[in-house]
Amino acid sequence: MEPEIGIVRDSLFEAPPLGEQERMVEAILFASAEPLGQSAIADRLPHGCDAAAALAALVKRYEGRGVRLVRVGDAWAFRTAPDLGFLMQKERVETRKLSRAAIETLAIIAYHQPATRAEIEEIRGVSVSRGTIDLLLELDWIRLGRRRMTPGRPVTFVVTQHFLDHFGLESPRDLPGIKELREAGLLDNRPPPGAMPGLIGDDADQGEDWDIPDDDQEEMFD
């Protein structure tokens, strides 16, 4: 430690060059457990230093960097650049299958696009929750298309490029048609086992199930 103390002592007689002062302020602010005011910084610098000039130089140096020197009230502190805030999120990714409501809605949009919400509901025979649409929008698999030129000018939904990439399609026209689905055995007149429990029980019950409000629909994703 002696040599460093030596520096302090020397500096009583002559202030270090501005570049050195900038380094010092940089180190002080980096290590400090709290934002420091200019006078607190000056107190720690060797005698004769110009804290304000060193701070100004540092602010400039960190401009556009991953961290910035920012003013916090009357004090200064290093902070992550705002556009990089997302890096401070440690994401735990969980893979989950899309709910039946979502995949059906997505399928209808893909086959019938542009499709309005009312059209989706008509085809599915049940109401489409806002949560389902929102999820598909968030996943960037659907987006808003043009408004339909009918009374009420309803919005339409279309699939996105990201949807095509995800499903390995060049265009929505590449989706297999009804004829092909039938040939593939997907349109057999039998429900796939366990796939449609709602349709076998009584209608009264089923109606209840299908008219679940948004909240309940959300629950399906958990």
Binding site: E34, R92, L175, G201
Partner: protein, 270 residues
């Protein structure tokens, strides 16, 4: 070891011996400060003022034995390991001095001496290394970590997956749904005999007086003609079943007149 010293006045008396006596005492008292015989040996070896690699192990053995003798003469209690080492140093000394015995298969005095010298040099080297290590720039003293670390927020992101097959199956499911609906519609207006029987068993306990069978139709099954038909048929069939079991009596005054029902005998099961 103990620093409990009982100076022996017989050994030290003359003026010029005071200094020697103090010196000896200092060394003895220091036994407490030594970390075992190897440490003591290392200290003694330094008095030879030579590079440790050129140390005379024979001389060291003599120094050690002299030290132990002095400690004994001062009646200082020495720990067992110091005495074990003393015995071994005496053995080593004899090995180094006597010509090697061809019948003896053990390592030679030179080998033993070389290893002891190695141990001393190694211990010395480790001490110097330890000192250099501790003199390094240290975190929290010379270099510092970020004082305001920014917490990384742990968030959960859900990655939804779906394959083209999922998509196709979903669409196929929707397009074929109509085909299944009649199956369930049929059941919609059917009230079964079992349901009627179950229902009536719970009600006939109160049927002390004659009452119209129609009043036993379930709620919600009387306005829609299809449902009323099914419920009436089921309820009538159930009442016949109950009559057969001897639980109710049935009466109809004339054709198409209301069918009347009342309880008969003790009621079972409720």
């Amino acid at each position: 070891m103990t620093s409990d010293m009982i100076p022996d006045s017989d050994d030290f008396g003359a003026d010029n011996e005071i200094e020697a006596r103090l010196k000896a005492e200092a060394l003895i008292i220091d036994v407490d400060g030594f970390e075992g015989p190897l440490d003591l040996l290392l200290t003694l070896s330094r008095t030879q003022k030579v590079d440790l690699r050129k140390i005379s192990v024979l001389q060291l053995a003599e120094q050690y034995l002299a030290f132990i003798d002095k400690a004994r003469s001062l009646r200082i209690e020495l720990a067992a390991d110091y005495l074990v080492m003393a015995a071994w140093m005496a053995f080593l000394k004899s090995r180094l001095l006597l010509p090697p015995d061809p019948a003896d298969e053990g390592p030679s005095g030179e080998e033993l001496a070389a290893h002891l010298a190695f141990q001393l040099e190694r211990l010395e080297a480790m001490r110097r290394a330890a000192a250099r290590l501790m003199a390094r720039d240290r975190l929290g003293r010379d270099h510092f970590a970020r004082g305001i670390p920014e917490d990384v927020a742990a968030t959960r992101r859900i990655d939804y997956t779906a394959t083209i097959l999922d998509l196709m199956q979903a669409y196929a499911r929707i397009r074929t749904r109509d085909d299944f609906e009649p199956l369930s519609l049929k059941r919609d207006a059917v009230f079964t005999m079992e349901q009627a029987l179950e229902r009536m068993k719970g009600l006939i306990g109160q049927a002390i007086e004659w009452g119209d069978l129609a009043q036993y139709l379930p709620i919600g099954w009387t306005s829609d003609p299809r449902r009323r038909r099914s419920a009436t048929a089921a309820t009538f069939a159930a009442s016949l079943e109950l009559a057969k079991l001897g639980q109710v009596e049935l009466r109809q005054d004339e054709a198409f007149a209301p069918i009347l029902l009342r309880r008969k005998g003790p009621v079972h099961g409720t």
